[in-house]
Amino acid sequence: MDDAAPAALESRPAIEGERDSRVALTPAAVELLRLLWDLHGPLMFHQSGGCCDGSSPMCFSAGEFRTGGSDVLLGVFDLDDDAGARLGEIEFWMSREQFEYWRHTHLTVDVVQGRGSGFSLEAPEGKRFLVRSRLIG
């Protein structure tokens, strides 16, 4: 993983039988999520695959994207504001079939300057969430 992207917040494991975090946020990601929470309320992630803006984490208002039996909840973040007051949970989802190809890697959600991202909420801020990966174990 890039040295520039240390994890600031690890997720709570959500897959049955697992005790280690699979997903983390960098400080920049935490900061951007606080801004988006302020603008849009509770949030969620769904990791995309495929074309154009794909292979990137999409951030939506919680419940905007309907997950189901074809998805896996990889972890849950407990987000606080910058004064330490609790904002709420952010779930991180991925399609089950995609997870089968990704399960050997730990993901860290980072932020880069960018433009455009499907319907993900951060695009108007001129920023883009990006996943950085490292092998587990």
């Binding site: 993983m1 890039d2 769904h46 990791q47 995309s48 695959g49 495929g50 074309c51 154009c52 803006d53 794909g54 292979s55 990137s56 999409m58 939506f60 905007e64 994207f65 309907r66 399609s95 079939e97 995609q98 190809y101 990704w102 890697t105 880069v112 300057q113 960018g114 433009r115 455009g116 991202s117 499907g118 319907f119 993900s120 909420l121 695009a123 108007p124 883009r128 990006l130 996943v131 950085r132 990966s133 490292r134 092998l135």
Partner: protein
């Protein structure tokens, strides 16, 4: 050799406006909320114009205009609509170089490709659908001696289209040509990474269409794309992009009970059987080019042949040859016709590619060439350039399973035919594939066995209008191009007519 001047400088074919409003109802309309966003060229990384930042209010205005225009447009004759498409095609052809340079500047791709592929294909698709709609006819079924079922084609009405950034003009035309030919009015949202070239096109051809038939609203996905895709006033939504947004659009469509077409990318296998090297001839040269097609459009193609599968018996010599071929790719100023590969479309795209080069190495894939960012000098220093990269590894690695959307190919070897088919189909996606063999029987069987919507046999990255394009598996729903695409923009009206005077006998 030609080096086009940068837009806005002396001698340039194109000077962009400093600001582009929406195109609604045949007029240039400022965004309701008065906000704009900066548009950056990937060539230098510098902003070059402002673009209207559309919201739900602008989408509603565009839908008002489209609904006002749709009934009359839907009643025009196929001959009239065909003539309109032909006039648009002619206008584009007359301005082909200007549009090609505008497209390269907005997207970053090499002008060699916009001149030779994007724009000529866009022109041809318009002409194709002009012909297709003239030749289309409904069918009738004789139910019994006095009963006839007539099947008429009718337009859907007002449709929404969301365009990707990798071929901004060509993908817009892929969607527009059949929709307009079939008699629909359109609200189109370009990608926010490449919003300018389509506005240049509208300035050129807007007068050829009745006001409101084609409306273009720019903006971000969350602010303009969602109000369009989830709108109750569209009768169909077409989207090219990635899987999560595709699913989200399908969810919105389910709420409104409207049809969709989705084109969602791939991880296309390009399979080379051992007989490709049986002779050192033109075919072997063509096969090497076929491998190197991963670099076309900087790899930003849904059908990028990003997994090369090579038969073990030839792997060593084959890879030596294609590494050499890849090293001959000329990178540099996208507006130089000698440049083969331009800039990635955005900074975040560049960053994503770099993150994949990182995980590829972590997983133990061997870098045969490339593997990093390319730093260019002068104006181009701020642009988004990546070296064409060949990884060698195995199909379980993430660089073999995820669409990187960059100039990166991952090579694995296979033992025999069955092994090749097993690896080729071990993917979530099924958009494109390539099969290379001098043995027609092997190539035919492989082409049929691969689960993908478009299998190129002994060629790659060809996109004729008269061939259907679309995905199996997670690569999407529906087809684009080919006259069957008209079905995706038409209702079937069945008129069931009795020519008998006799009662049916129930009451």
């Amino acid at each position: 050799m030609t080096v086009y001047s940068n837009p806005g400088t002396e001698g340039s074919l194109i000077t962009f406006d400093s600001r582009y409003d929406h195109y609604i109802g045949g007029e240039w309309v400022p965004p309701a909320k008065g906000r704009y966003f900066e548009n950056v060229t990937p060539v230098t990384g510098q902003a070059f114009c402002e673009i209207a930042r559309g919201t739900a209010e602008d989408i509603e205005s565009a839908l008002d205009a489209a609904h006002a225009a749709a009934p009359a447009w839907g009643r025009t004759t196929p001959a009239e609509r065909a003539a309109t498409l032909l006039r648009i095609a002619d206008r584009m052809e007359e301005n082909l170089e200007k549009l090609a340079v505008a497209e390269s500047w907005d997207n970053g791709k090499a002008v060699r490709e916009t001149l030779g592929a994007d724009l000529p294909l866009a022109v041809d698709h318009l002409r194709y659908y002009a012909g297709a709609i003239r030749a289309q006819e409904g069918r009738l079924s004789q139910i019994d001696e006095d009963t006839v079922a007539y099947h008429f084609h009718e337009p859907l009405g007002v449709v929404g289209q969301i365009i990707p950034w990798n071929f901004p003009l060509l993908m817009a035309v892929w969607k527009l040509a059949p929709a307009l030919a079939a008699g629909n009015a359109v609200v189109l949202k370009p990608a926010e990474q490449t919003p300018a070239s389509i506005m240049v096109l509208m300035q050129l051809v807007g007068d050829l269409l009745p006001p409101g038939v084609l409306n273009v609203v720019n903006g971000f996905g969350a602010e303009a794309g969602k109000p369009l895709a989830s709108n109750k006033r569209i009768r169909k939504i077409a989207f090219t992009g990635e899987t999560t947004t595709g699913r989200l659009i399908m969810q919105y469509a389910s709420e409104n009970l409207i049809p969709i077409t989705l084109e969602l990318g791939g991880k296309s296998p390009n399979i080379f059987f051992e007989d490709v090297m049986a002779r050192d001839d033109a075919y072997w040269d063509k096969a090497q080019e076929g491998f190197t097609m991963f670099a076309l459009n900087q790899g930003e193609v849904c059908t990028c042949p990003s997994r090369a599968l090579v038969q073990e018996s030839i792997a060593g010599d084959f890879l030596d040859a294609v590494v050499e071929r890849t090293k001959r790719i000329v990178q540099g100023n996208p507006l130089d016709t000698e440049t083969m590969m331009g800039a990635q479309a955005s900074n975040d795209q560049l960053e994503k590619i770099m993150s994949y080069l990182d995980i590829g190495r972590q997983e133990g894939a061997e870098v045969l060439t490339g593997g990093g960012r390319l730093e260019l000098d002068g104006d181009l220093a701020g642009g988004f350039y990546v070296e064409p990269t060949i990884f060698r590894g195995d199909n379980s690695m993430r660089v073999f399973q995820e669409e990187i959307f960059g100039p990166v190919v991952s090579v694995a070897t296979f033992a025999d035919y069955d092994d090749a088919m097993c690896i080729a189909n071990d993917t979530l996606y099924g958009l494109g594939a390539g099969v290379w063999s001098r043995d027609g029987n092997v190539a035919y069987r492989a082409g049929r066995q691969i689960q993908a919507g478009r299998v190129w046999v002994n060629n790659y990255h060809s996109y004729p209008a008269h061939a259907a394009f679309g995905g199996y598996k997670s690569s999407g729903v529906g087809r684009e191009t080919h006259l069957m695409m008209l079905d995706h923009y038409q209702q079937t009206k069945n008129l069931l007519v009795s020519y008998s005077e006799d009662a049916q006998g129930f009451f």
